[in-house]
Each structure stands twice: as structure tokens, then as C-alpha cells.
């Protein structure tokens, strides 16, 4: 039986100046094939000017069940938002 191809995550730069964004994934035997497949699968309507591929198992992520704990700290730090400070209207834009 032939070996199953690894999964690749695909990132595409939609237009010049923007960052690459994750658009989906696909299977391919190696990085070069992953790039070519990604081009054919994800940019058929000219959706991109650049593609990155990363093997899925190279991605490290937080445990989604621990999200509440992992992202709790900034919730109490409301002063990190500019709207926390009341600037009177007649002072002008700031």
C-alpha cells in the first residue's frame, strides 16, 4: 500500500502589501508539490500574489480547551484601549 501524503497548511497573500493569511490545507508528497497544488486549488480566480506552505505537523498550537485560561489576562486591562481615556471633544483628535 502506498504511503499517505502529509497534510500542508496553505497561506496566501491576497494582494501586494497584505500579510499571508491561512486559507485551508491540502495533501501533497513534498513542499514543492504542495505549492503547485495550492496554486491550482486556492488561486484559480487570481486570489493571490504569493503562497506559503507549512507542513501541518510543524505547527504548534495552544490547547483549545485551555483558551479561557490562556487569554484571560488582558480582559481586566481595559486601559490598553484608547477609549479608556476620556478626552474632551474640544481638545480635538488624539
Amino acid at each position: 500500500m502506498s504511503k499517505e501524503w502529509p497534510l500542508w497548511e496553505i497561506f496566501i497573500r491576497g494582494q501586494h502589501g497584505l500579510s499571508h493569511r491561512h486559507v485551508g490545507s491540502l495533501h501533497a508528497p513534498d513542499a514543492e508539490m504542495a505549492l503547485k497544488n495550492a496554486r491550482d486549488v486556492y488561486t484559480r480566480r487570481n486570489e493571490g500574489v504569493s503562497i506559503w506552505v507549512v507542513e501541518s505537523n510543524k505547527i504548534t498550537a495552544f490547547d483549545p480547551d485551555a483558551a479561557e485560561h490562556n487569554f484571560a489576562a488582558p480582559k481586566s486591562k481595559v486601559y490598553r484601549h484608547p477609549t479608556f481615556f476620556d478626552i474632551p471633544e474640544d481638545v480635538g483628535a488624539m
Binding site: R13, G17, L18, Y79, R80, P82, F85, D90, V91
Partner: protein, 324 residues
Amino acid sequence: MYAQLVETGQSEGTEQELEFQAKIDRGVRIEANDWMPEGYRKTLIRQIGQHAHSEIVGQLPEGNWITRAPSLQRKAILLAKVQDEAGHGLYLYCAAETLGISRDEMTAQLLSGKAKYSSIFNYPTLTWADMGAVGWLVDGAAIMNQVPLQRCSYGPYSRAMIRICKEESFHQRQGFDIMRQLCQGTDDQKAMAQDALNRWWWPSLMMFGPSDKDSVHSEQSMKWGIKQNTNDELRQKFVDQTVPQAEWLGLTVPDPELKWNEEKGGYDFGEPDWSEFFEVIKGNGPCNRDRLEARNKAWDDGEWFRDGLTAHAEKQQQHNIAAE
């Protein structure tokens, strides 16, 4: 401006360079793997590096007041602001690294004094009111400079600036909020705010760099889309925005030549003392030595910790290999 007197190379006019210039003129962003002239690459490494160093050294004057903030809330806010500066330094170092310089090389250049950072961070923060003045004036001037940099021709720099600008607005507003509270307080508190304005006004105007007629590198930087406005344009904009805010606070801008000019629709104002600026840039400002000593100490004191983390990572890797 967080990057001052950035030296630029010269374009040599080859066909490849002409194509590159045409791309910039069309407003197309340049990305890390695109061809670019050596001068463009070097200019950006210097500018982004200087900008990153400024964010990092910029933590020191404000860090000075974290333990002495007048309330727990002010302390938490100041701490959050200084954390932001560290974050901004990181975004920028990473943007510079896309151009082929390593983080360690940049750090070494800062620590040896070879790389510059903004002149403004070589002034001392003597009173709590300085936290207000720094946020209001220094961050105000930085925003003035950074907003157009969001359209910089180099993609990674422009994207870092978009993120930074979004976060920076809190900085200026918290500074103004400190000034406002002092100005609405006792006579002594208001005098403290006035004193801070007196000391920070001219160094803030110097942040934009020397006058256009003396700014030898501006022209090439503007042609390459690295810089969008001249030093004098940005300085004028800053004065026009800030003077009414000072008036609102009931403070006096320490410039006898300051006068509204109806015809140009902006203020006329005096010339900063450029000899002071060049002395500070050369390393002879009031705090240059302190700042570099503090950065060197932080780097040296952190060595065992960095090494520890590396050793741990290596050990984990060994474990993983053994487990496979």
C-alpha cells in the same frame, strides 16, 4: 521621529533599479524575497533597526517611574505602556530581520553604541509630570511620524507600523490624561506640568530630525518610498496639532516666537537648538551613558536565563528523539 539622520545609499541607474523604482512609483509594496538595490536594503536595515532600538531604549525613561506612580491604576497603565514599547521593538526587529540582518547583530550594534536610537530618550524623566509630557508630546510626535510610515514601500515595515499605530493611540491619550489631571489640580501640580512641558517641548521638536535644507538623506529615502513627508512638514503638523492642546490645558509653550500665521494656516515657531541635537546624537546628551549602561547590564544579567532556556529546549529535543 524614531529614526533620525538615516544614511542612504545612492541609486546607480541600472535597468533592474529602474524597474524597481517603477514598481515603487506604482505603489507596489516590496517584499523580503523581491530584488532590491543594496542601498535600499541597507537604508531600511538602518532605519528599522534604529526604530526598534528606540522602542527598546524608550522603555527606560518611563520604566523609571513604574515603582513610584501615584496610584495603583496609574502604575498598571504605565506598566502596560512600557510593555507595549517592548512589543513594538519586537515587531520592528523581526521586520528588519527579513532584510538579512540577525537579531543578535542588531543587539550588538546597539550595545556597542554603533547603532543609534532616537535622541529623545537621552533626556531624564525628573518628575511624575514627565510621564504625562512624554506620552502627550513624545508619543504624539512619534505617531505623527509613524502614521505615514504605514504606507512605506517595504511590506514588512509597513505592516509592523499598522499594528504599532493601532496600539500607540492609547499612549498619547494616557499622557494627555496625566497632564489634564495635573493641570486641573493644585497650583503646585499645574506648575509641575508646566515644568515638564518646558523641558520636553524642544527635544520633542528635534525628534523630527534636522531642517529639510540640512537633511542630506531625505531625498533618496522619499524617492524609495521609505519616507513620505519631510522633517519640516511633520514638525509643522505636530506644532499645529499640539499648541491648541497646550492652550486647552492652560499651559504655555516655551517659545517666544510662537505665533499663529493666518496666511499659511499654521503656527510660526522658533528654531530648536540644533547644536544640542547633534551633541545628543554624538552621545553627549544628559543620559546617553546611563541608557547604554542599562541596556548592557540587562543583556549581561539576562545571559544565564537565555542560556537556561536554550539548554532546556535542547534537552526537550533529546527527549523527543529518544521517545520516537
